[in-house]
């Protein structure tokens, strides 16, 4: 069976100036797979996530989403940079949820969700609004339609942010520590929404510190440290029987 992987990374390298943040990442995410990435801060998890939708450019290696290279087109053995319009089109197929929510503060919850369908997909107002209302209902916030982000709690904001990403009907969702900025009692509501997404078959790459979530929802778990993948496997295996010393040391501190 040769299914095209949703994400495929081969020897991905990335430096910021002299600092090498990614030092050869190889991994594959199958369609409908939920991959969780854990590791200490500064290990390159977030950077790798941002490379997937080309918010960061990779320096070496190959990174492709759904069989197409990210940011480049290959003809013969030459790489051509993609024009902005192509980069935008590809990004529109990938949803991203940020640690700090990054909702647009000058728009209501509904406005936040409708923005991209209206601007990027050129959808009709009524269509976009209907879907936005349905999505708000799905994340349990149908009563917050007209609220501005600063009138919402952190957990509510993050759920709106997830709905905003889903409004583009992405084939892949990236989560960059979605619960790290939340009060402990608000973490659950966001994880519930993500759990629902996973159950509906969404392909997800989740950078997280929520080991419980990783164990319960994740199909695979990747442990990263200083720019390389140290260990990978099923969440249950990695969390219960870490093989690598570095993984053991990390898990003993966070579990």
């Amino acid at each position: 069976m040769s299914v095209v992987p949703m994400v495929k990374a081969e020897a991905v390298h990335k430096s910021f100036g002299r600092l090498e943040v990614l030092r050869g990442i190889d991994l594959e995410v199958a369609p409908k797979e939920v991959m969780c990435m854990i590791g200490p801060s500064g290990s390159g998890k977030s950077t790798f996530l941002r490379c997937i939708n080309h918010l960061e450019k990779i320096d070496a290696g190959r990174l492709s989403v759904d069989g197409e290279l990210v940011g480049y087109r290959q003809r013969g053995n030459k790489l051509y940079e993609l024009p902005d319009s192509e980069v935008c089109r590809k990004r529109s197929e990938i949803g991203m949820v940020f640690q700090r929510f990054n909702l647009f503060p000058h728009m209501t919850a509904l406005g936040n969700i409708m923005e991209a369908p209206l601007m990027v997909k050129r959808e009709k107002g009524a269509t976009a609004e209907a879907r936005a209302r349905k999505l708000l209902d799905r994340v349990g916030l149908s009563d917050k339609v007209d609220c501005y982000p600063n009138q919402l709690s952190g957990g509510q904001q993050q759920r709106v942010a997830i709905a905003r990403a889903l409004a583009m009907e992405p084939k892949l969702m990236l989560f960059d520590e979605p619960t790290s900025a939340l009060d402990p009692e608000l973490v659950g509501e966001v994880l519930d929404v993500m759990r629902g997404l996973a159950k509906d078959g969404m392909t997800m790459v989740v950078v997280t510190h929520e080991m419980g979530f990783a164990r319960e929802v994740g199909d695979s778990l990747v442990f990263m440290d200083s720019g390389v993948i140290v260990e990978t496997g099923t969440p249950r295996d990695v969390l219960a029987n870490p093989k690598h010393e570095r993984t053991k040391a990390f898990l003993s501190k966070v579990l």
Partner: protein, 328 residues
């Protein structure tokens, strides 16, 4: 031997009951009262001295305050202000975006523009446009090597009003460019990233996400600039544009009531800037939406509060929101 020392008794604090609201005698501030009296006294003396100046004819002020020439002058002043600010804001926004462009040539051109127009006096710039015809009798556009060529006399093209508008507007654009740039930079980078991640283009991100948020930072100084422009437009005097100050000058050169006419002009400038100040306040309020949970009280609401409580509410949260980073 640990004996609890009982402090002053709390009136009305039986078990489970809320103690009565504190009604303390406020601290007296005799120096505040004294300084207020001194300041008021000095101010009253200055006003009295001017109002009763022996050779000041308030009748003349009254006669010309609503005179036809003055009213026409006010209209021209307003036209100049609006047009120059329009050029300033639009061109300034373009220059700001150019300045932040990844294209080095575009960015450099913007830098050069700001350097030149901010580095020369606006009076000289108006003077330049007004006298352009001396060195450049004809202005035209055309494509070299074709018969497409439009030409016109500089004097017909740039009349005094246009010379003043160009001088004021192009100069203003340089200042507005810096104001808009500061506003754009003030918007958190995560906003741009979130919009990009949704697939929005650079231009869409700027127009829909960054600029609306930058407005909160851009509006207050732009209000300042508008108020400043209203007064600076009197420099159009050198191009013989019949605006408020030119008119009052023309009248006083005929009747020698120089100070009286200056007072007439000042009264109108003050009246117009006052109206602008109120307008600016409501504009700021509008663009503050989404940045605060509750909009700050309007001046009228604050006034009522002072009347009823005797205390001024804390300064408008708009001002605070502009200078403080937003807390998420």
């Amino acid at each position: 031997m640990t004996e609890t020392v009982s402090g002053p008794s709390v009136p009305g604090s039986q078990a489970g009951q809320r103690p009565e609201t504190i009604k303390a005698i406020p601290v007296r501030h005799p120096w505040r009262w004294l300084s207020a009296v001194v300041v008021l006294g000095v101010a009253a003396d200055i006003v009295y001295t001017i109002v009763t100046a022996p050779n000041l004819d308030w009748g003349v002020v009254g006669t010309y305050l609503f005179g036809r020439l003055i009213r026409e002058g006010i209209l021209v002043t307003l036209e100049l202000t609006v047009l120059a600010m329009l050029i300033g804001v639009v061109l300034g926004a373009v220059m700001a975006v150019m300045r932040l462009s990844p294209n080095p040539v575009v960015s450099w051109v913007s830098w050069l523009y700001i350097w030149f127009f901010r580095g020369t006096p606006v009076l000289v710039q108006i003077f330049f446009w007004y006298n352009l015809n001396i060195v450049l009798p004809h202005i035209g556009i055309g494509i070299p090597g074709t018969s497409l060529n439009l030409q016109a006399g500089t004097n017909q093209l740039i009349n005094p009003f246009l010379a003043a508008t160009l001088g004021l507007g192009l100069n203003e654009a340089a200042y507005m460019a810096e104001i808009v740039r500061a506003g754009i930079i003030s918007v958190e980078h995560g906003q741009t990233e979130a919009a990009q991640a949704l697939g929005m283009t650079r231009l869409q991100v700027m127009r829909r996400i960054v600029l609306p948020q930058a407005m909160r930072v851009i509006i207050p100084p732009t209000g300042n600039e508008t108020i400043s422009m209203l007064k600076t437009s009197s420099l159009a005097f050198v191009a013989a544009v019949p605006e408020l100050f030119t008119r009052s000058e023309q009248i006083s050169s005929a009747n020698f009531a120089v100070v009286e006419l200056a007072i007439v002009a000042s009264i109108w400038y003050l009246a117009m800037t006052s109206i602008l100040t109120v307008g600016q306040y409501y504009l700021e309020r509008y663009f503050a939406r989404g940045s605060q949970r509750e909009l700050p009280p309007t001046p009228w609401q604050r006034f009522k509060k002072i009347l009823f409580t005797g205390h001024a509410p804390p300064p408008s949260a708009v001002e605070a929101a502009v200078s403080l980073p937003r807390a998420h």
